[in-house]
């Protein structure tokens, strides 16, 4: 009994000393040790350069690589995050959602803007040349998007997870597809406001 109590005290102490972010309360896939924010510059939907590290400095950031022709999982991620934004204005205020289209051939800046506005008009949409997109994916540590099929009907194999950065500039967790809404609600409040 004494040993158990001692262990509990140790755990509580460690949790208290472990820094601002309560990663043990996160339901996403915790990245340990946390990874630094990647540095890359792409073009936003207004045509302006967007330096990811600079633009999201001091804020939480959710980075996702996808494409507009993807009707299945991309919209689900974005809808789930948008729902948390609607529920918790503090999360919305402190979090930058950055959607990078890896399909520059089909996804024009206007089309990306229109797409993201279906979820939340604050979501940032980025595009670039294939070379620039490759550099961004490498910097973010995701597998490079693969273009599969011929003609106009090709599909794009791409990383299915959202990369979450806290305001401390570190990636503390990732969110594969299938995360429940309650987990998003829990985690985004921790990541964005602690």
């Amino acid at each position: 009994m004494r040993r158990a109590a001692l262990l509990l005290a140790l755990v509580v102490l460690l949790a208290a000393c472990g820094g601002a972010l309560a990663t043990d309360e996160l339901q996403g896939v915790v990245v340990d040790p946390p990874q630094p924010k990647p540095s890359f510059t792409l073009t936003d939907t207004s045509g302006d350069p967007y330096d990811f590290a600079l633009a999201t400095e001091g804020k939480a950031a959710l980075l996702y690589f996808g494409y507009l022709n993807c009707p299945d999982i991309c919209p689900v991620h974005l809808a789930q995050i948008a729902e948390v934004f609607d529920q918790v204005p503090d999360v919305a205020r402190n979090t930058e959602v950055v959607f990078v289209s890896v399909d520059p051939q089909r996804d024009t800046p206007d089309a990306i803007r229109e797409y993201l506005d279906k979820f939340d008009s604050s979501f940032v949409g980025l595009t670039g040349t294939l070379e620039e997109l490759k550099a961004a994916q490498e910097a973010a540590g995701v597998p490079l998007a693969q273009y599969v099929g011929d003609g106009e009907d090709y599909t794009v194999d791409h990383a299915g997870w959202v990369i979450a950065f806290a305001p401390d500039g570190l990636n503390h967790a990732i969110y594969p597809f299938g995360v429940r809404q309650s987990a998003w609600l829990n985690d985004l409040q921790i990541i964005a406001t602690q």
């Binding site: 993807c70 299945d72 999982i73 919209p75 689900v76 948008a82 089309a111 979820f119 594969p176």
Partner: protein, 144 residues
């Protein structure tokens, strides 16, 4: 006492007859309002005898394809499949991250409306369903 029993009996017979004709029962049918060029449709299907979905069509899209999303080491890929099987006495589930119907070049139908989609089954033949349009991406089964 006799009359209510008779009414109950008639009701039971009517209920059992109503089920049999289609052969495939659809539930939780939903299609997302298109955010991009395409929309995805999901449902659950059951059949006592078993059946196979061969194709689908709607006036609200240029084409409808049967698709499967697969995840390999977290990387998502999408492939088309020839048909989808409803096992006899079992359930075919179309859900995000798995099987879905992809409505290609979808019309801008809006959340809250309904669209008609025709499914062609190997045994049950052509069946047209009225499908609820949900918000873009609001296609997961809710946990709250």
């Amino acid at each position: 006492m006799k009359k209510p029993t008779l009414i109950l009996l008639v009701a039971l017979v009517a209920a059992s007859c109503g089920n049999g004709s289609a052969g495939v029962e659809l539930s939780d049918a939903r299609v997302s309002e298109p955010a991009g060029p395409n929309a995805a449709m999901y449902f659950k299907a059951t059949s006592d005898e078993g059946d196979r979905l061969l194709s689908a069509s709607t006036e609200e899209a240029a084409a409808v394809e049967l698709h499967e999303t697969q995840m390999t080491d977290g990387v998502m890929s999408m492939t088309s499949v020839d048909s989808l099987e409803v096992p006899a006495g079992g359930e075919l589930v179309l859900e995000p991250g798995g099987f879905h119907l992809m409505l290609i070049d979808a019309e801008p139908f809006a959340e809250g409306s309904e669209i008609e989609v025709t499914l062609v089954w190997e045994n049950a033949g052509e069946q047209t369903y009225s499908v609820e349009v949900v918000a873009p991406g609001d296609t997961m089964e809710h946990d709250h």
